[in-house]
């Protein structure tokens, strides 16, 4: 991947090509824009958020959003049961709700890929041993495992991130192993073996780069799962703890007021839904774009379409 940083013209053209392909695909563009919006909200939360997300104001509690009767532009999305600004909480909540997937998926991705590489390349007993462990862990109900660990260890940002990565690393291991098994048969790997390259070098220099695109797609897809899991765990009270905020936590807090103040669960719930949708759209596009065969099919379909009309 280090080659990417070089500013050669062909590299730049390649990036421009990707950008053009995103812009031409409206669903992918939508996904990217939504994610960009949420990520920038997370990055610049203190600047964007109108108020401190933990600033209480009992006199202004349970104010409705701006469009409803009694709402005002002072609190665009209303206030919660302690008079805290809902919009500010969602903007700040984006930080945790988006950092957790980033951390968990990175941890799970690195570990799962390494394990998968080892299993796929070594084969034989190593493979059988590792993959049976993976199968065993797959058969555990993930959320239950996470709940148990969190109940014992106690919830915090890092336990949550690690517990959630424990739930998904097997997916990366399995996928990597499959890809490695097929890559092993390719001539370039054989060639590298013939010139005497060490197994580690072959795995890292020759096989791993070919896994980048499918694993990246998987990582994006898994982030969506992690967002939902974090929301679920926080909703159950074993995830993020106040005074930190996350969307799942806000939904949990708001559910008591579902009749009197529905905006307390509608907006954080919407944030979760939009984030997951954006990620899924991006992942779907990435899957197609990163696969030369799929891309070719698309291209052919696009090229055929006008001729069909004219014919």
């Amino acid at each position: 991947m280090s080659a990417v940083s070089s500013g050669s013209r062909s590299e730049r053209r390649r990036w421009a090509g990707w950008l053009m392909r995103i812009v031409r695909d409206p669903t992918a563009l939508f996904g990217v824009l939504v994610l960009a919006l949420l990520v920038s909200a997370a990055l610049f939360a203190p600047i964007i958020a109108p108020l401190d997300p933990n600033k209480q104001d009992l006199a202004a509690r349970l104010l409705p959003p701006f469009y409803a009767e009694g709402g005002s532009s002072a609190h665009l999305l209303g206030t919660d049961q302690l008079g805290r600004d809902v919009l500010s909480r969602i903007v700040h909540g984006a930080r945790i709700s988006l950092t957790i997937p980033l951390v968990s998926v990175t941890l799970a991705g690195i570990f799962g890929t390494a394990v998968g590489l080892l299993a796929g390349y070594r084969g034989g007993k190593t493979d059988a041993f590792i993959m049976r462990i993976v199968d065993t862990l797959f058969s555990f109900p993930g959320l239950l495992l996470a709940l148990t660990i969190l109940a014992v260890v106690g919830p915090s940002f890092w336990t949550l991130a690690i517990v959630l990565s424990l739930r998904i690393w097997m997916v990366f291991a399995r996928m990597t192993r499959g890809l490695v098994l097929s890559a092993r048969e390719d001539e370039y790997v054989e060639a590298a073996e013939l010139v005497g390259a060490s197994p580690v070098r072959i795995m890292i220099r020759h096989i791993a780069p070919n896994l980048t695109a499918p694993l990246l797609t998987l990582a994006v897809l898994e982030s969506a799962h992690v967002i939902l899991s974090e929301a679920a765990l926080s909703f159950l009270g074993l995830g993020i703890q106040p005074p930190e905020t996350s969307w799942g936590l806000d939904v949990a807090i708001g559910r008591q007021y579902v009749f009197s103040a529905p905006w307390l669960i509608i907006f954080p719930g919407l944030a979760i839904a939009v984030a997951v949708l954006g990620i899924n759209l991006l992942a779907g596009w990435l899957r197609v774009a990163a696969d030369p065969q799929e891309s070719a099919k698309r291209f052919a379909a696009a090229a055929d379409a006008p001729s069909a009309w004219s014919g």
Binding site: Q56, L58, A68, Q81, P243, R255, Y257, A261
Partner: protein, 532 residues
């Protein structure tokens, strides 16, 4: 607005569906007892055709069924085992006490003929009314009273309710219906204490599963208990007097507030506890007890070595909190500010000379700076779902503290662990939020538990207040006893042992199917409910 309306519309559809199902269920449950009852009440079924013809037009001989939604499930239904309000709420309909309270909260005779007579300094005499029997046929007589007293004070039985009996050391039978309650010294509170002694049958209460199958002598008898779901009671047909309007009741345990409220909105629940003020307008009827029953306070660890051992810090934590805003905004005006003490104005021992610490964040900052605690960090233990807005109140307090520079890390453990932390005498929490109720309505209970350094939940070093509380226990002269309690209140106020927040009444919501009024003690007497 349209989004909300659509959402509400969706809820309404769900509500209608649920209501339709609910009606079916109610219909089948009310029918069931009527049909089983029919052969028993109508005379001997000489012909097989007779019961079927008489059963059909019979206009509900048994009265109505209702459903009551409670927030917590008691750990046991043994009326002498657990100190939980849900247990009292259910069992006050099943068991007798020697002395009861009327709806206004005044003492009235229960199973006894009067409030009791002090015979000497260590003896109170009661006469049990004749003709009361337990639902299993055992008579409620002097033996049953003696058994009940000895059972609850037995150290091996180790019940938290023992503390309510205070000075009681024993009981002895005088004759079949006369009994003496023996105390360790003069105790003016015995009639009040007797309101917390449920009378249990000597035989049945020795059974291992008495807590699951309680047998009482009251107007209602226990039917079944589905753990985690509901307790069912039915009116005892043999109970003297007119049959009550409610013949069957299910106490549903629904921890989730929204679910409980939805139950009332869908007519599945006739009466629910702990209605949020915001939802007053949504339910058909609301009730509230005439005075506050729950006192919200934050206990501060005043013992040497604690991070808040300096009295200036504890005073600062009091000055920092705007109790007025909590009462008026968070509780929509149903809360009343505590007067710088844990006692409610209508409890014995209230000190009218004390004032709440006013809201003065600047003074709080000054005091913290003087005490060298400008960046104080403490842990604040609390609980959720036990009382109205308990967690929210804790967060509000932490928010006010944060404004004067005190960082409170809120820790909300499981309920059982919360109780362990509250009564852990060795490791007192820095601060712990407590919703305190006092069903004795006398300072004795509150002060012995919270103002005595050896009480279950006191977090202060021993002081002369301990002696005053001990002296008050056996002080027969009410004026002297009042003075002692008021002095204790003053000492607590000066030492800022607590952050005294507000006192809130019990609030109920219900459908228009029932006619009822809330009692002063917050209990729900099924005999008071009329169903239309």
């Amino acid at each position: 607005m349209t989004r909300h309306r659509r959402f509400v519309g969706l809820l309404a559809v769900v509500a209608l569906l649920l209501a339709a199902c609910g009606d079916d269920e109610a219909a089948t449950t009310t029918e069931a007892p009527a049909t089983t009852q029919a052969p028993a009440t109508t005379e001997a079924p000489t012909t097989t055709a007779a019961p079927t013809t008489t059963a059909a037009p019979e206009p509900e001989p048994m009265g109505a069924s209702i459903v009551i939604g409670l927030g917590t499930e008691p750990g046991s239904l043994d009326p002498q085992a657990v100190d939980q309000f849900a247990m009292f709420t259910i069992n006050d309909n099943v068991f007798h006490k020697l002395v009861s309270r009327n709806a206004a909260g005044d003492l009235v005779p229960g199973a006894a003929t009067d409030l009791g007579t002090p015979v000497d300094d260590r003896t109170w005499q009661y006469t049990v009314r004749e003709g009361i029997t337990f639902h299993n046929g055992e008579p409620l007589n002097a033996d049953a009273v003696v058994h009940s007293v000895l059972r609850i004070i037995d150290p091996d039985y180790a019940t938290p309710l023992k503390d309510n009996l205070g000075t009681v050391v024993g009981a002895e039978k005088v004759d079949e219906h006369t009994v003496n309650i023996l105390t360790s010294g003069p105790d003016p509170l015995i009639p009040t204490r007797m309101t917390l002694l449920y009378l249990v049958p000597p035989e049945a209460s020795q059974s291992e599963d008495f807590g699951e199958n309680p047998v009482g002598s009251g107007p209602y008898k226990f039917v079944s208990w589905e753990r985690g779901i509901a307790v069912e009671l039915e009116a005892d047909p043999d109970y003297p007097g007119d049959a009550p309007s409610v013949s069957n009741v299910r106490f549903l345990f629904i921890e989730e507030y929204g679910t409980r409220l939805a139950g009332v909105l869908n007519d599945e629940i006739d009466l629910m506890v702990d209605l949020l003020p915001e939802d007053n307008a949504r339910v058909a009827q609301t009730w509230s007890t005439p005075t506050g029953l729950k006192q919200f306070i934050v206990s501060l660890n005043a013992r040497a070595g604690s991070p808040v051992e300096d009295v200036r810090i504890r005073q600062a934590l009091n000055y920092a909190v705007d109790k007025e805003a909590i009462a008026e905004s968070l509780f929509s005006g149903i809360g009343e500010i505590l007067q710088g003490q844990m006692l409610n104005p209508n409890w014995f021992g209230f000190n009218p000379d004390l004032d709440p610490y006013p809201y003065d964040p600047d003074r709080a900052r000054e005091l913290l700076a003087e005490a060298g605690a400008s960046d104080l960090e403490i842990q604040l233990v609390s609980l959720v779902g036990n009382s109205l807005l308990d967690k929210e109140t804790t967060e509000v307090v932490a928010g006010y503290w944060a404004e004067v520079g005190v960082t409170a890390e809120i820790f909300i453990p499981e309920f059982s662990e919360y109780i362990d932390r509250l009564i852990d005498r060795e490791n007192r929490p820095d601060a712990i939020f407590v919703p305190h109720d006092n069903i004795l309505f006398d300072g004795d209970r509150t002060l012995s538990a919270y103002y005595h350094s050896q009480g279950c939940c006191g977090s202060m070093d021993p002081s002369e207040a301990d002696d005053w509380i001990d002296a008050g226990r056996t002080e027969i002269d009410q004026a002297a006893r009042l003075k002692l309690y008021q002095d204790v209140g003053q000492a607590g106020h000066d030492g800022a042992w607590y952050v005294w927040l507000i006192s809130i009444p019990n609030v109920y919501g219900g459908t228009d199917r029932i006619e009822w009024s809330a009692r002063a003690d917050g209990l729900i007497h099924l005999t008071d409910i009329a169903v239309s």
